[in-house]
Symmetry: C2
Subunit: 261 residues, 2 copies
């Protein structure tokens, strides 16, 4: 399993991926799933992957080597040369389709799910940061302000906090906090999602440096946040009044205790 | 889609089901999925269903009519006559298998998922309340103190709050609150889960009456709880300190504002 989350806000782009892979519960490993695909003075392109590790690694490797040129005379097509994030998403989609043709059918034949998906985020040239979700067939969607985040992998456990809290106008530190809380939920409920987490934060403001960081299992900030969150959730449930139709079903002493406090 | 949740705590049993069914997004309906299967001076047996509505309705109808007797001379086998909740779970499982044999293959042939699952809760004779999850094949598991809740249907969105908060020793009103918060999360993130919710609360203490209730879409308590919860989550995220490695990435003014408040 995997969980990857991208947020595209007024303040910039946040992209986070966990590192757990597993083939059954008896075969866990740690693999980096957040990759830098292109970096230069005019571009910073990152991708987070979910799905078959063999397929996603092949897609990344093919993108590094370059896709076959459309005209034999030309050079292989690379992300280092595309002129926009839209073109980058097209190239990644095409790489997915090429690898699907090479190994997809063979994997399906032995009933192994070969599908992969990618979150592709970054900036090329004068563009603002952009974020895309590339599906298993190589088609893709772009993140838009009405739904300023995209998820792949084990998306559901970590979604309620996003649905309730993500806001286009939030500062990047708040966005990262909420992203961490979303990962905290996913990791608690699914053993297939786990730290280390890899993250990249790209502020829209070009004067701020690109932030990349790995959050280890013993990360103090993350652990403190998780503890505080659990405590606050517990406190919040106590603060909500009991259902009025449940008077007499217990909890009254506790209620009185709270009233007296 | 559907979401049903059962909790079996020291204080008693809580069973809640939503009422939304859909065949595609263009065909929504409201059907009761929490059924009273047996009620009498010595028994109260309830089931919540998830999956193919035609199959689950047939299972319930078959249980009402009674399953074929093992000996032709005998009366049909009914939940009104079984001697324990374990026997009740066996009978429901057998009903699932019978209906599967009648229509399962026909549905699979036209690529319609015919699987159903049930949460079966209640009490028979001198037993304490018990809770079972009956799978699509008719096999089942019983809820145990180490994991004092069971879910069927769209289980993931509403799970983090349960993993963090459900506690064997909590009073029934707190359990119902947490169950409602779990439904609130599922309903926000999946249109296939919606009010009205049907609920039944069976206190272990036999002096307390069985509580059954429908929570309508305009239920004041539920709406107030949902609002308070959203507000408290927002407040909680603000209270958690910003990640130390994100100093300079915005949000400082907000931080100062909080400090001054």
């Amino acid at each position: 399993m995997t969980y990857c989350l991208g947020m595209l806000l007024d303040a910039g782009l946040v992209l986070i991926a966990d590192t757990r892979t597993n083939a059954g519960v008896d075969n866990f490993s740690c693999y980096k799933k957040l990759h830098c695909l292109a970096e230069g003075p005019d571009r910073q392109v990152f991708a987070a992957s979910s799905g078959s590790l063999s397929v996603s690694q092949s897609v990344i490797a093919l993108l590094e080597e370059g896709l076959p040129p459309e005209d034999k005379e030309e050079a292989p097509r690379r992300l280092a040369a595309v002129t926009s994030m839209f073109r980058a998403a097209q190239l990644v989609g095409e790489a997915v389709q090429i690898i699907n043709r090479k190994v997809g059918a063979a994997l399906e034949a032995i009933h192994i799910n070969s599908s992969v998906s990618f979150l592709l985020g970054g900036r090329i040239g004068e563009e603002s940061p952009r974020l895309f979700l590339i599906y298993a067939a190589g088609n893709f969607i772009e993140c838009q302000p009405d739904s300023p985040f995209l998820q792949i992998g084990e998306t559901k456990y970590g979604r309620p906090i996003l649905d309730r809290s993500v806001d286009m106008e939030m500062p990047l530190p708040d966005a990262v906090k909420i992203a961490f809380l979303s990962f905290d939920s996913a990791m608690r409920s699914n053993l297939g999602v786990a730290r280390p987490l890899d993250m990249v934060v790209m502020a829209r403001d070009r004067s701020l440096p690109l932030l990349t960081r790995r959050i280890e299992p013993d990360d103090e900030y993350f652990n403190d946040m998780s503890l505080r969150w659990a405590r606050m959730l517990h406190q919040a449930t106590l603060t909500i009044p009991d259902p009025p139709f449940m008077v007499g079903y217990g909890g009254e002493e506790q209620q009185r205790g709270r009233g007296a406090a």
